[in-house]
Symmetry: C2
Subunit: 199 residues, 2 copies
DNA sequence: TGACAGATAGACAGACCTGTCTGTTACGGT
DNA sequence: ACCGTAACAGACAGGTCTGTCTATCTGTCA
């Protein structure tokens, strides 16, 4: 289960963990529920009890990715320094970490949205995630003293999306480095007297 | 038909045209060959005569996209001016045109690669396309006098990928504008005495 | 001991998908 | 007039997918 208190150690968590791994590697449509059931070691009835439709599991997967990725962005930002301008550049370190991870396969949201119907919940959830990230970056840009915080946030999130989504092709660490250096240039140009260079 | 000389008026072209439309909208895996056969108005035998495996049609589709997209990038670059630095920024107008097009759905290569097996021909073809684009941008950056042409090209292609691939979520024209403005900043920073501003 | 909640195993229906195969029709060149 | 090529129509096999259903097992609480 999701909280550590409940008397439920297995089943649902095994399903979600397995789905996370398989969905990210092959895309939700590339993984049948039978495969998940086998690898998670649960019964079909248990599966459909927790997730009446397959899409319910896909949404749970996306929520998991949303939590994880935002956490990594925040951690990298914080680790880069106290000044918001430094953090705007530092968050791109999350890209580098992601690219080094085994089985890196690009952006889960863009990959999922690519195979979902435009009006579906899966698609909407992906849009929500991107909006959330951009709102966070906008806030950071505002605190960094950017003349146009929303403009800078858009530039940086486009860059972030590019670095992330290209990972579905190859896990080239150069891409992350380029995105970071580009971010440094953009932040420096947008934040008036800032010393946005990073150690 | 493919060549203007041959005695081939229909069939194959109808298949490719239909595939282009449907594959781009729903992704190759989201479209069955029966659907293509129906909408193209061809017989199943004709389909499999021209494309023995479905993947052969997917590859033809990707080649079509490759040709089209590179053509648009080049056209936008040329239209932006004679100086390579101007062209590096101008190519981002292709993003804006794409976003305004009916049925815009992001990057066909990233979307296709997301659902293809990592070792497949479809995946490899997508990687090739991105490499081709980057080579062209690198050449432009070199002629623009960039201190580090490959570095600038990487920055710009990451930006381009971000602007393009995000289109699978929503066709926001602001994204294209942000990518273009960011490109202008990056080009200006990378090309020594350049006046990289655009009309 | 008995009742119950939650899990397990696995058959099944119905839809869809790829690829094969048979047979028919239309047309262009000789 | 004849023949070969390309296209047409559509049945069929074999597989996969989602989601439903029955039936059995296990542990906990009273």
């Amino acid at each position: 289960m999701t909280t550590p208190s409940g008397p439920r150690p297995g089943a649902r968590k095994r399903i979600v963990d397995t789905a996370f791994r398989l969905f990210y590697a092959r895309g939700p449509r590339g993984v049948g529920v039978d495969t998940i059931i086998d690898e998670a070691g649960v019964a079909k009835a248990s599966f459909y009890k927790h997730f009446p439709r397959k899409d319910d599991l896909v949404l749970a997967y996306l929520d998991e990715v949303d939590r994880t990725w935002l956490g990594q962005l925040r951690a990298c930002a914080r680790a880069a320094g106290d000044h918001p301008a430094e953090q705007l550049v530092g968050m791109f370190d999350a890209l580098h970490s992601a690219a080094r991870r085994e089985g890196y396969h690009g952006c889960a949201f863009i990959n999922s949205a690519a195979e979902a119907s435009p009006g579906s919940e899966v698609h909407a959830r992906s849009v929500d995630h991107k909006r959330l990230v951009r709102a966070w970056v906008t806030d950071l840009a505002r605190r960094a003293g950017a003349a146009d915080p929303e403009g800078l946030a858009r530039q940086l999130t486009v860059l972030l999306d590019g670095g992330l989504s290209a990972g579905v092709l190859d896990a080239d660490p150069e891409v992350a480095a380029s995105a970071r250096s580009a971010a440094a240039v953009l932040v420096a140009a947008a934040c008036p007297p800032a010393r946005a260079s990073t150690p």
